[in-house]
């Protein structure tokens, strides 16, 4: 292909087009102005989403990436623009979300001089990215962009930063498109060991009480069908982590619920009863394991993960299989016997029935009293035929919506699991709706988290993004209040919160809203929200001092959940 003489900024945009990028979440500023100037000529090539804060740009790119499987892109300026992205980048790192953040940087000649809006962005972001690189020469642009997308999206995905010096943005170069599909020091898809797979199959075939743990890796690896084929053949009950909730439909006969601190009693209890634990694409986070020294000690453990560094990190395992679950699961399926574990599977239902009686019935059908988060979540889920994308913020709203939503389709839960970032929800929901316009996107957020990135209502207004916002307002930083109630002697230090008039705020942004206080209005309000053609704020006044239950208290074992 012939070379063409263009500016570095133009080369950046052509390289993005080359990677199939058609949507950019960004915010301009001094040292990225040449790129935004070039974007002006590409108005038809990209959907430019002007966010209202750079943190929003990254969370929106994350929502875009996680709902669609594509790499999300943000472009911001240097200095404060760049530092504002750090929370989003960290969130993407912990939750393995493929995003490429391109930040302006001062010219190479003044690097290290405390030039206006200069910060060491590569230095700051190295520990929170898969790769962080400064583009200093125009001839490196095509290669750096290609490498960035390859690294962000391959293997265990993650964030990549490109720090783009202003002189390279304006310099001229002979542009040639580049492609990167190999980095010699990087093995994104390790070849699984045949021996390990055989050994794992032997353990499965010997097991009387196997339990499979489904993590987000199954979603990232698009291994939904492979997972089903495996558990159906060997008749293995499967529990999902928070991040993996939509990797297996809620109503699948072998789905036994959610793991974790606020997960279901059956899978948590039976983690310490099973004789074989098969973890797929999950990382044994402390929110899942509870007290490590008592975690699944009786069981043999098989761990399938694409990331070698996850093996034996938190839990020492008997058979590690390092590889892509989409490749490993079918190999395993071929080697396992068709089996039946009827009684064992029923035992999950028995424990879940205890939870149902002690917690769920009351959470879903309280009868009287203030509205509860759980009933709202279940009603919204059902009103969308359980096919919406659930985006959550962080806190009680997150746990309750994740617990009571039902999942029928892949890529249907977007939540900040690893970093637990309040303020994630609203921008992530925007990104998700923009990526998947044909799907209903329901954001559940708290009154605290709503206000952490409330400025993104401006983005919704401008883009006309049809996000359905369900604000579960308890006038508290509820999750923290719950801990204060249970573990700090009811001392509600800094958790009661005076709230603004959300109807006025929504009105200010031209977003229709409705406040629901009474139970008998809820169905109608949900219907109104879903029928609205555009965005809608459903402001639900929920019980102020309600707790998320059941719970594995901090320091307790997975089989020691409490119910009140």
């Amino acid at each position: 292909m012939g070379k063409e003489r263009i500016t570095g900024s133009e080369a950046l945009l052509r390289s993005l087009i080359n990677e199939g990028v058609d949507t950019i979440f960004g915010y301009p500023g001094g040292s990225i102005m040449p790129v935004f100037d070039a974007l002006y000529d590409h108005r038809n090539d990209f959907r430019n989403v002007l966010v209202r804060h750079e943190q929003g740009a990254v969370h929106a790119a994350q929502g875009y990436a996680r709902s669609s499987g594509k790499v999300g892109v943000s472009i911001v300026t240097s200095g404060p623009g760049a530092t504002n992205t750090l929370t989003g980048i960290s969130d993407a790192m912990l939750d393995s979300t493929p995003v490429v953040v391109i930040a302006g940087q001062v010219s190479t000649g003044v690097l290290g001089t405390d030039a206006f809006q200069e910060i060491d962005f590569v230095g700051i972001t190295q520990p929170i990215t898969k790769w962080s690189y400064q583009i200093r020469r125009p001839e490196d642009i095509a290669w750096a962009v290609a490498r960035a997308f390859y690294i962000a999206g391959s293997g265990r995905p993650g964030p990549v930063v490109l720090d783009f010096n202003k002189d390279a943005q304006v310099a001229m170069l002979d542009y040639e498109p580049a492609k990167v599909d190999c980095v010699r020091s990087y093995i994104p898809y390790p070849t699984p060991s045949r021996n390990a797979i055989e050994e794992a199959a032997r353990l499965v075939n010997e097991s009387q009480r196997p339990l499979l743990l489904v993590g987000q890796g199954v979603e990232l690896g698009e291994a939904h069908e492979e997972l089903k084929a495996f558990i159906e053949k060997a008749d293995i009950p499967a529990a999902r982590t928070l991040m993996g909730l939509s990797a297996l439909p809620t109503d699948h006969p072998l789905c036994v619920g959610m793991l974790g601190m606020h997960g279901n009693y059956g899978p948590n209890f039976n983690t310490n009863e099973c004789d074989l634990l098969i973890a797929v694409g999950m990382r044994f986070s402390d929110r899942v394991t509870g007290k490590l020294s008592t975690y699944a000690k009786q069981a043999k453990i098989v761990h399938i993960d694409i990331d070698h560094a996850e093996i034996n990190k938190n839990v020492t395992v008997d058979v590690p299989i390092v590889g892509d679950c989409k490749e490993v699961l079918p190999l395993l399926t071929a080697l396992v016997n068709k089996a039946e574990h009827k009684e064992w599977i029923e035992s999950f239902a028995r424990y879940n029935a205890i939870e149902h009686e002690k917690v769920t019935v009351k959470a879903l059908n309280p009868g009287s009293g203030p509205l509860l988060m759980g009933e709202v979540a279940r009603k919204v889920s059902e009103a969308t035929a359980n096919s919406a994308i659930l985006v959550t913020d962080v806190g009680q709203n997150q746990m309750m919506s994740a617990r009571y939503f039902k999942y029928t389709k892949p890529h249907s839960i977007l939540t900040s699991g690893g970093l637990g970032t309040m303020g994630y929800g609203l921008p992530a929901a925007i990104g998700a709706k923009i990526a998947m316009p044909e799907r209903t996107v329901c954001l559940f957020t708290g009154d605290g988290g709503m206000q952490m990135n409330i400025q993104e209502l401006g983005t919704i207004m401008e883009q006309g993004t049809a996000v359905k916002i369900i604000l579960l307002n308890n006038n508290y930083l509820g999750n923290v209040r719950q801990w204060q109630e249970l573990f700090f002697n009811h001392r509600y230090s800094w958790t009661p919160m005076l709230n603004p008039d959300y109807a006025l705020i929504a009105q200010g942004y031209g977003i229709p809203s409705r406040l629901v206080v009474e139970r008998d209005e809820l169905d109608d309000a949900i219907a109104e929200m879903l029928a609205a053609p555009g965005p809608f704020l459903l402001h639900v006044a929920v019980m102020e001092e309600a707790n998320v239950m059941p719970m594995t208290p901090p320091g307790a074992s997975v089989n020691e959940m409490i119910f009140e």
């Binding site: 230095g123 898969k130 490196d140 190999c182 010699r184 990087y186 990331d307 070698h308 990190k313």
Partner: protein, 185 residues
């Protein structure tokens, strides 16, 4: 668990910012690096880091895996002392007038196979290669002899006892033969 001395050998692409990425994994766990040596390796374009530190095997293993996981790191392994050959280099700057007064100093130099690099009326520079213990013992002797002006010791360099080049797998790997990371600047 007991703390032991470990040596971590790391091969990386030769690019700016690599050292930071490697050491950040230690910073994060507040693990204190004892010595670090960075230089080119026997393979063109590949940098080699030798890091020694005291730690528990479990955390050394985890940190090594995390380092190997970095995109531009080719290989990272950890060893105990019985699995490697290792050396350090030390330079001692000694007072020439004291040496002339006290013949013990010259004897110490000879006994320890130290090499004299420079002699002038003010000072004498001698070099020793050996283990940390040898080097520090000699340091103590010179201090006792009152002739020590300056002292510096390198980090450790090490090669594994196994015959095969650690990078071997990579060198014969198809991917490796493809281009090294773009040479920038």
């Amino acid at each position: 668990m007991d703390k032991k001395l470990f040596t971590i050998i790391i091969y990386t692409e030769n690019i700016a910012g690599m050292l930071n990425q490697v050491t950040a994994e230690f910073t994060r766990r507040m693990m204190n690096i004892d010595t670090i040596t960075a230089s080119s390796s026997s393979v063109e374009g590949v940098h080699r880091y030798t890091i020694s530190l005291w730690g528990e095997e479990d955390s050394v293993q985890k940190v090594t895996k995390r380092i190997e996981k970095k995109v531009d790191v080719l290989k990272a392994d950890y060893y105990t002392d019985n699995e490697i050959f290792f050396q350090e280099v030390a330079l001692y700057k000694l007072s020439t007038p004291v040496m002339l007064e006290n013949s013990e100093v010259s004897r110490t130099i000879r006994h320890n196979n130290a090499r004299v690099m420079e002699v002038n009326p003010t000072y004498t520079v001698v070099e020793v290669t050996g283990s940390t213990d040898d080097i520090l013992r000699l340091y103590d002797e010179f201090v006792a002899q009152n002739c020590m002006l300056q002292f510096v010791k390198s980090g450790r360099v090490a090669v594994p006892r196994s015959a095969q080049e650690v990078l071997g797998e990579y060198l014969f790997n198809e991917d490796y033969k493809r281009k090294p990371v773009k040479d920038v600047e």
